[in-house]
């Protein structure tokens, strides 16, 4: 039974694309057939983050317009044979696709893959409406900032209105030291407002920037703490019960070790 997820946030820059890439790679490690769909037409990024930009020949608009077959537009990942990308068009606009076409597309992908992950554009306009039109479930990303949480709340309301029930929350870019000092919202503060199930917490990590620029998801990087968080999230998606990472303690040891080595 395949599942179609949309990864959305409302606010831009909170990590939708990074999360999509990492969950996709993470699920592929577990031998699932996964397709990532970039619904951000006109501002596509997922291909760049996956390091597949130079392989694009056809895109999602070509598929819905019937310029090519669906299989022709799917780009196989460099590392995992069972991971594919359906790239967005860069020179078109959001209205090049409509919700009915997206729904048809999702249904076609359902037959071929175990997981369909749709990378939603920022905003609540046409692109968002397209991205959520054919999905079963939603993953809402937010960062511990009031503006991002506000937008996530709005998105959850819109998802409910579109009958996408029980979205899951990923709190991204959290900094345990700042939370400890009381300068940043803690997970509890965010869940108190949003009141949805938590899928995971991802710490702010330099390795994300490095892996994004290299075009390689960090989920396979055993050293990366964000990678560990995404591995945990992947296992939770697969139905396992994995406790949340204890960020504060781990970070303490890491910082102490760093201090020791710097001395």
């Amino acid at each position: 039974m395949s599942e179609v997820y949309v990864i959305t946030s409302g606010k831009g820059g909170v990590g939708k694309t990074t999360t999509t890439a990492n969950l996709g790679a993470g699920l592929a490690v577990h031998d699932k057939r996964v397709v990532l769909v970039d619904a951000d037409i006109g501002l596509r990024n997922l291909d760049v983050v996956m390091g597949l930009e130079n392989r694009i020949v056809y895109d999602i608009v070509d598929v819905v317009d019937g310029n090519c077959r669906l299989k022709q537009a799917l780009i196989k990942d460099k590392r995992y044979n069972n991971l594919c990308l359906l790239p967005a068009a860069q020179t078109k606009e959001k209205d090049a696709v409509n919700p009915e076409q997206m729904q048809k597309l999702c249904d076609a992908l359902r037959d071929e893959f175990d997981y369909v992950l749709i990378d939603c554009p920022a905003g609540i306009e046409q692109g968002f409406k397209n991205a959520i039109s054919g999905v079963d479930k939603a993953i809402v990303i937010t960062t511990p900032e009031v503006s991002a949480v506000r937008d996530a709340d709005r998105i959850i309301g819109l998802l409910e209105a579109a009958e996408v029930r029980n979205p899951l929350l990923i709190l991204n870019r959290i900094r345990p030291d700042m939370v400890k000092r009381g300068d940043m919202m803690a997970l509890e503060d965010v869940t108190e407002i949003l009141a949805i199930d938590v899928l995971g917490v991802v710490p702010d990590d330099e390795s994300i920037v490095i892996s994004t620029n290299r075009g390689e998801p960090c989920v396979t990087d055993q050293e990366s703490r964000a990678g560990q968080a995404f591995r945990n999230i992947t296992r939770r998606l697969l139905g396992e019960t994995v406790p949340l990472m204890d960020l504060s303690i781990d970070d303490g040891i890491m910082s102490k070790l760093k201090k020791v080595f710097k001395l």
Binding site: G42, L43, R44, E53, N54, R55, I56, V57, Q90, T91
Partner: protein, 222 residues
């Protein structure tokens, strides 16, 4: 005295901006003319020296062999390089095979209308044209140029480019910083590997079904 004057005017050379016009006396025989012509060319050798110029004959109807004979005199006696001969002051378009013989590198003879663009392309912008495209500016990643003819970018080329999109394998792509995201010529799709080399001005073309990227200038200059 009188005769000499006539002889003197039998061949008159005139320099023009776009070449040399040689006016010939129609009244004398070709053999006589040839002698005068030869003398005149030798006399005015400096006039031709080191020039690369078009030559046109006026005043007299010449057969093809006659024309060739006169040209031969010029080329053997002087260092003038004659790219082509114009007729009656109207210049013939250069013969493509002739260009191929003299230019240092052979470019396939494809003729397209050209669309010129001032200013670069940013991500998401695209140019599609049923001919060649020249961009005076940078072509950034995420932008695309699709042309039926050639593509020349006077700036850095980092977007997607497709030359000869209707299938002409003779089309080429050129850029000053040559690093297209993806490079397509006719039906071949390829990309430049990220090998961290310096990107020099280059030209990409198809030879024997393969895309080659050649530097435009000698590596040692850059």
């Amino acid at each position: 005295m009188q005769a000499k004057l006539v002889y003197h005017n039998a061949v008159i050379l005139k320099g023009r901006r776009d070449g040399i016009t040689i006016s010939l006396d129609p009244a004398i025989s070709f053999d006589d003319l040839k002698i005068h012509f030869h003398r005149r060319v030798v006399e005015t050798k400096q006039f031709f020296e080191g020039a690369k110029s078009n030559v046109s004959f006026t005043g007299r109807k010449l057969s093809e062999e006659e024309e060739q004979e006169l040209l031969k005199i010029i080329t053997t006696e002087t260092s003038l390089d004659v790219p082509y001969v114009a007729e009656q002051g109207l210049f013939k378009p250069p013969n493509p095979t002739f260009i191929a013989d003299t230019s240092p590198a052979h470019l396939p003879h494809n003729i397209y209308n050209t669309s010129y663009h001032q200013g670069g392309l940013r991500s998401g912008q695209s140019i599609r044209y049923s001919g060649s495209v020249v961009v005076l500016g940078d072509v950034n990643p995420g932008s695309e140029i699709v042309a039926e003819g050639n593509i020349i970018v006077l700036g850095s080329l980092k977007g997607m480019v497709h030359a000869g999109c209707t299938g002409n394998e003779e089309c080429f792509v050129s850029g000053l910083v040559f690093w297209p995201t993806q490079l397509r010529i006719a039906n071949i799709i390829t990309y430049i590997p990220n090998d961290k080399k310096k990107r020099t001005p280059s030209c990409a073309y198809i030879q024997e079904g393969q895309v080659f990227v050649a530097p435009l200038v000698n590596q040692s200059y850059t």
